[in-house]
């Protein structure tokens, strides 16, 4: 196809690719590029955590650079959880901190040449379902069965189906929000690189700052905030 430099559309590529497949109970299961990218993100995070553990084991009164960074991250995350969850924060700060770091690193991994794992609906749906499970586990634990039934029949008992649909919409909207934001950023940067070809030299850095860094950080914050709000609502008995 004759398209010149401006429209080299055939190197547009933001799809998920299969790496290899295997058969499990008669179903063909694919290991895709998302799995590989998640694995890389996990390895980087685990390496960071091990380094942090080693540093904190010999923590000094006057902190060095790396110790300062770790303390800053932990204090900020704890402060965020404390501000929203109040008295429930000690139980959930581990989980919220973990998913915050994981989603943040996944969202900005587009900067390092990976396809962001959160631009795969499988990843974000899994995160949304974990939130869903936590909400309902804690609801049954703290409000007991009576409280759950009372919550379902909130204004009148006839509203129970609508409340059930609303409960089921929570993980779907949480996961779709994160997925669509990261995917739109990925598609836009790919379009710029693919369609402008050789003209896209230095200035796409500004696009990356907005679409990868800013949007990714905001969506991470929103996902964690909403998860914390829902869980706090489920824990409060009144």
């Amino acid at each position: 196809m004759e398209q010149g430099i401006l429209l080299s559309a055939e190197n547009l590529d933001f799809m998920i690719h299969g790496v290899f497949s295997y058969t499990l109970f008669g179903q063909t299961v694919w290991i895709t590029t998302s799995h590989v990218c998640i694995l890389i993100v996990f390895l980087v995070l685990i390496g960071f955590f091990i380094a942090a553990r080693i540093t904190m084991n010999k923590a000094s009164e006057v902190p060095g650079t790396f110790q300062n960074i770790i303390e800053l991250i932990v204090e900020k995350l704890d402060g965020m959880v404390e501000g929203v969850m109040g008295k429930w924060s000690p139980k959930f700060r581990n989980y919220i901190g973990t998913i915050f770091l994981f989603i943040l690193l996944s969202n900005i991994s587009g900067l390092f040449g990976l396809r962001p794992p959160t631009a795969d609906y499988g990843t974000t749906l899994a995160l949304g379902l974990i939130t869903f499970t936590l909400i309902h586990y804690n609801q049954f634990k703290y409000q007991k069965v009576k409280g759950v039934i009372k919550g379902l029949c909130d204004p009148w008992p006839i509203w129970a189906p609508i409340n059930i649909i609303g409960d089921c919409a929570v993980p779907i909207s949480l996961s779709l929000r994160l997925f669509a934001n990261v995917l739109s950023g990925l598609v836009m940067t790919t379009l710029v690189y693919g369609l402008l070809g050789k003209l896209a030299v230095i200035w796409p850095a500004a696009l990356h700052v907005y679409l990868d860094l800013f949007s990714g950080a905001i969506q991470t914050y929103v996902f964690c905030m909403l998860t914390m709000t829902y869980i706090t609502n489920a824990c409060n008995t009144d």
């Binding site: 909207s173 779709l176 929000r177």
Partner: protein
């Protein structure tokens, strides 16, 4: 009746274009949120960081409906469910 594949692809493109009109709603909503946040900061400059984080949270939630439209458009363009 059966249609030509190219006809269906063209109609999918038109549908994708119509689907991203959904972006109007979040645009208006985010603008209203930002305007009120600016007014709030003008009235109480000390609360700037709180106002900003609340505004960003609300805007990100309001963005969701627009993103649903974008998802529909992308499904029509790249997954081609109707062909």
């Amino acid at each position: 009746m059966d249609f030509n594949e190219n006809f269906i692809l063209g109609c999918s493109a038109i549908g994708a274009g119509l689907a991203v009109i959904a972006g109007i709603g979040p645009g208006v909503g985010q603008g209203i949120a930002a305007g009120h946040a600016a007014a709030a900061v003008g009235r109480n400059p000390g609360a700037k960081s709180d106002v900003t984080s609340t505004m960003l949270l609300g805007q990100a939630v309001a963005e969701t409906t627009g993103l649903y439209g974008l998802l529909v458009a992308m499904l029509l363009m790249f997954v081609k469910p109707l062909v």
